[in-house]
């Protein structure tokens, strides 16, 4: 859906997204890192289980919720990536997607 205009030369950190190791620029948000790797949707909705992904990128819609290091419902657009971080897309109100 998105691409980088150019390599910004920032230092990289390694995170896992659904168990798959990926290199992402340090300081980037989890949402940006996940979007650039084409991993959409981020979750399924709590009521009817339909796919969702970031809408606002500024912390007000809560559609970017993912599991980070075992804690569900973290706002991916508000959390920065860190070395070794485990990001999982989530199902419904919390808990990992299969």
């Amino acid at each position: 859906m998105f691409k980088k205009l150019h390599d910004d030369g920032a230092a990289r950190v390694t995170v896992t997204i659904d168990g798959q190791a990926v290199q992402v620029p340090a300081g980037e948000t989890v949402a940006a890192a996940t979007l650039i790797h084409g991993l959409s949707p981020f979750r399924t909705s709590a009521v009817s289980g339909v796919p969702r992904a970031p809408f606002c990128m500024m912390g007000v819609c809560f559609d970017c919720l993912v599991e980070i290091d075992g804690t569900p419902n973290r706002q991916a657009c508000q959390v920065r990536v860190a070395e070794g971080m485990a990001i999982r897309r989530q199902d419904g109100a919390g808990g990992s997607a299969p």
Partner: protein, 466 residues
């Protein structure tokens, strides 16, 4: 120990940065808290370190933020980045999530400069992955240099939509179409406001220049678009729109929408500040005086969070609130405050002169809310539809807070940020009563998610301090 600050500023956008800088220069001890990792707010996001090779892409206005950030860094105000506010009490206790750690501070005065958010306007399919706001697109561009991979569809109304289109064109992004949803009648209604707006000729000229830039690039601009639908199963596949009574379809994987900006009022709501319905900007805003003071003692609200006025007005309003804080805290007297305030006051007046024109010109069509399809989801979190809201009203529900018990509307993680404005208007329209009589959601802390571990850490810390 709970730290105590003379002045706390919440938010490091133009209003907050200017307020903190001015207050520090006036000799106040200032702490500024912001949930972003770097100063600038949304408007000047990433301004100290843009990832773009050519900073000219973002335009001249954006660079003004660099000067603000620099003056702020030099001022010596204590800066707390990545530090969000989850609790605010009338006693001026502030609950913070400081880099993930919960802690409390108290303050002698508080200036809230929380800024704006994009107006959420529901339409069929707006919850699909691949439908995002123009602001989201701009944040990705400013902060990480990310742009749409394929052709993007832009839709809605407002200056930000034009700005984003121009910025995208400058870096070679292909725009499938710009669907202009500005009602055709707006131009006529805005006309009487034009003479006053001409004093802000620069602002108007910039808008026209953006339009020219977009037209010259050969972007397909569709005027008079009256409705929008996003189609797809797992993600967006196509956008269907109506213009001149005809339906058209565009295949696309990314749709960015924008319907103007509104104050992000959950923080001021939670504090119990009185809010007014702004019938020009179609949104709630806190009631403030000429210095930003609210009806809650010791709290001021400045910038777009107090009503949309733009970045320049925000910056000057921040300075005014800082002067008022210095007066209230006994550093300067009324005469000195007024004298020092003159330039900022004049600048605010000048900046706001163009607003009535812009507000009328870009006001979203009221039908977008009043004629919402019954099947369209209004509350993204609890997946409540417009039809369910109308049904609840039919069963005797008279306001947003009652609606919560009828439908759970507004009770999800976003705490009504996405549906609040819509719901007040929709209930008002269904009952045929003015929005100000309908009221808005009561907001309770925590203002952002805080988990049990973070709260427990707070307890043990308090225990040790006691």
């Amino acid at each position: 120990m709970t730290a105590r600050h003379e002045l706390a500023v919440i938010g490091a956008g133009p209003a907050g940065l200017a307020a903190a800088t001015t207050a520090t220069e006036l000799g106040l001890e200032v702490a500024i808290f912001d949930d972003q990792p770097a100063p600038g707010g949304q408007i000047y996001r990433g301004v100290e370190r843009t990832p773009l090779a050519d900073p000219a892409v973002l335009g001249e206005d954006y660079r003004r933020g660099a000067g603000l950030a620099e003056a702020f860094r030099a001022s010596g105000a204590a800066y707390h980045p990545s530090c969000g506010v989850w609790l605010l009490t009338p006693e001026r206790e502030i609950g913070l999530l400081d880099n993930g750690q919960a802690r409390f501070v108290t303050a002698g005065r508080v200036i809230i400069a929380g800024g704006a958010m994009e107006r959420p306007v529901p339409f069929p399919g707006w919850t699909l992955p691949g439908v995002m706001t123009a602001g989201a697109g701009q944040i990705l561009l400013k902060s990480v240099g990310m742009v749409p991979e394929k052709e993007v569809v832009l839709a809605g109304t407002g200056p930000l939509l034009l700005l984003l289109a121009a910025q995208y064109l400058r870096v070679g992004v292909r725009i499938a179409a710009l669907l202009d949803m500005t009602p055709r009648s707006n131009a006529l209604r805005a006309l009487p406001q034009l003479p006053a707006a001409l004093s802000a000729f620069g602002t108007l000229a910039k808008g026209l220049a953006l339009k020219r830039e977009i037209r010259r690039a050969g972007v397909r601009v569709v005027k008079g678009v009256t409705s929008l639908r996003a189609l797809g199963e797992a993600c967006l596949e196509a956008v269907v729109y109506e213009a001149g009574g005809r339906e058209q379809r565009l295949d696309s994987e990314l749709l960015l929408v924008h319907f103007g900006v509104i104050p992000d009022s959950n923080t001021t709501r939670s504090l119990g500040v009185r809010h007014l319905w702004d019938s020009r900007q179609l949104c709630w805003r806190p009631a403030v005086d000429a210095w930003g003071n609210t009806d809650v003692e010791g709290f001021a609200v400045v910038g777009d969070g107090a009503g949309i006025g733009g970045a320049l007005a925000a910056e000057h309003a921040g300075r005014l609130a800082a002067l008022e804080a210095a007066r209230a805290l006994g550093r300067i007297d009324v005469a000195e405050r007024d004298e020092r305030a003159a330039p900022a006051r004049a600048a605010v007046v000048k900046e706001l002169r163009v607003r009535p024109f812009l507000d009328a010109l870009f006001q979203p069509a009221p039908e977008l809310i009043s004629r919402l399809d019954d099947d369209t989801v209004v509350c993204r979190c609890e997946e409540v539809t417009a039809g369910q809201v109308r049904e609840a009203v039919g069963q005797g529900c008279t306001g947003p807070n009652q609606l919560k018990s009828f439908t759970r509307c507004g009770m999800g993680p976003c705490q009504g940020r996405q549906c609040g404005t819509t719901v007040s208007q929709l209930i008002g329209h269904t009952l045929g009563r003015p929005v100000e009589e309908i009221g808005a959601y009561r907001i309770r802390p925590p203002l952002k998610p805080i988990n049990l571990t973070q709260l427990a850490a707070l307890d043990s810390e308090e225990g040790e301090a006691a």
